[in-house]
Symmetry: C2
Subunit: 245 residues, 2 copies
């Protein structure tokens, strides 16, 4: 692991307008810039262990990380998927509640916890943005509870694909020639851990969705979606997402 510090100016940062710093004015950004530092992690590396003392907080700049919980007997549940701009760590708490693991090579923009907390108390724009992001995550977690508690395996897979499609549509704004397509950033096993299934069931349901023409696969990580509405219907989500009347 080489912790080479690519020193990017905050103004040029790819996540400038979505991360915890999104609302900062130029001068506030300057103060953040003084205390930030970059860290790189390799795919597969654990960033934070549950129960560990948290030395830093920060934002995912590039790459993907997961938040997981494990029971003593090895049962695992993924409880969060961290994409670029997502925040890691919890100001006001000293130990981590969950494992954070890089699933791809990853770069984080870090702040030592204490200086960040100090800055937060004097910079309302940071606290405001963090509250907003935390409320969004809470809503997302509650959506996920519906999935885990009540959806069928097929609905779970369809939901996961549509969520990943939505999230990286928001990030990349890539729409290759009208046809929506997504790279799954997770192995079958990781998907299973996210969805509360086994990897065999994940594999079977992906095959079933493919057979039924809901998705097509190129390689086993790249998914194309010929008809997004069809996929959303399979996901069992309220069509038109609660936009009533």
């Amino acid at each position: 692991m080489h912790d080479h510090s690519v020193h990017v100016q905050c103004g040029d940062c790819p996540i400038r307008h979505r991360a915890v710093c999104a609302r900062c004015e130029t001068d506030e950004l300057g103060r953040l810039e003084q205390i930030k530092y970059y860290r790189s992690f390799q795919a597969g590396q654990t960033i934070i262990w549950s129960g560990d003392r948290m030395e830093f907080v920060g934002s995912v700049v590039t790459g993907i990380a997961t938040l997981t919980q494990t029971m003593e007997d090895g049962r695992r549940q993924m409880v969060g998927l961290l994409l670029p701009s997502d925040f890691v760590g919890r100001p006001g708490r000293s130990t981590a509640a969950f494992d954070v693991t890089a699933t791809t090579d990853l770069v984080m923009c870090c702040f030592r916890k204490k200086p960040f907390e100090d800055l937060m108390s004097t910079t309302p724009h940071i606290a405001q943005r963090l509250l907003e992001m935390t409320l969004d995550e809470l809503d997302a977690a509650r959506e996920w509870m519906l999935l885990l508690g009540r959806k069928t395996a097929r609905e779970k897979i369809a939901s996961l694909i549509s969520i990943i499609a939505r999230r990286d549509a928001a990030l990349h704004v890539r729409r290759t020639s009208g046809m929506l397509s997504v790279d799954l950033p997770l192995t079958r096993e990781e998907m299973a851990d996210y969805l509360g299934l086994t990897l065999e069931t994940v594999s079977r349901q992906i095959s079933a969705l493919k057979k039924d023409g809901v998705i097509t696969l190129e390689g086993n990580r790249h998914v194309s979606i010929p008809d997004l509405d069809r996929l959303l219907e399979e996901a069992g989500d309220d069509s038109d997402g609660g936009m009533l009347v």
Copy 2:
């Protein structure tokens, strides 16, 4: 429904030190006091419908409410249990994402949304406390994801009982003669909706825990716990809650 306004002074409020106002100084409390109003709801009454415009936010003062999601075909998942001091509503969002329902008679301390948001932007203590509470709820939601995704029916029931025991221990500090006991504030069906089970399975697993001496029942809502460690073990939680070395 009688909306009789019991006008309690904030200083005497039972949730003064746990609710969103917990960190406020006397003068800040005064400003909150000016815009607050009380509303009562009957058991069973829906407080907010998912998708509705949210006119107010507020704190549960007494009673219990639930946060639920429903799919078109009627499958339900409870995604939150709101006890006294818990906050309802989301500053910065105009429509509700989930149904909020009173399961007992309930009193809320409400604020119209706009004035509350204005006050929040000038009173960092409110925003700070709300962030803290939201982060706690997010952690709780993630714990719940492990339960929904990976625990067995028996573990789910044991977890629910121990969570309710812990939460109202924190609230009441009642320890009747050493033996821990709890009133379940939910029907079997509501428990099922919370745990991602059917009511029959809930009933069967409660009977099984009773047969095995993990709990005893007086009536079917009142549970006594002869041995809390035994219950926690049945819940499958890390014993000693991650306090390693």
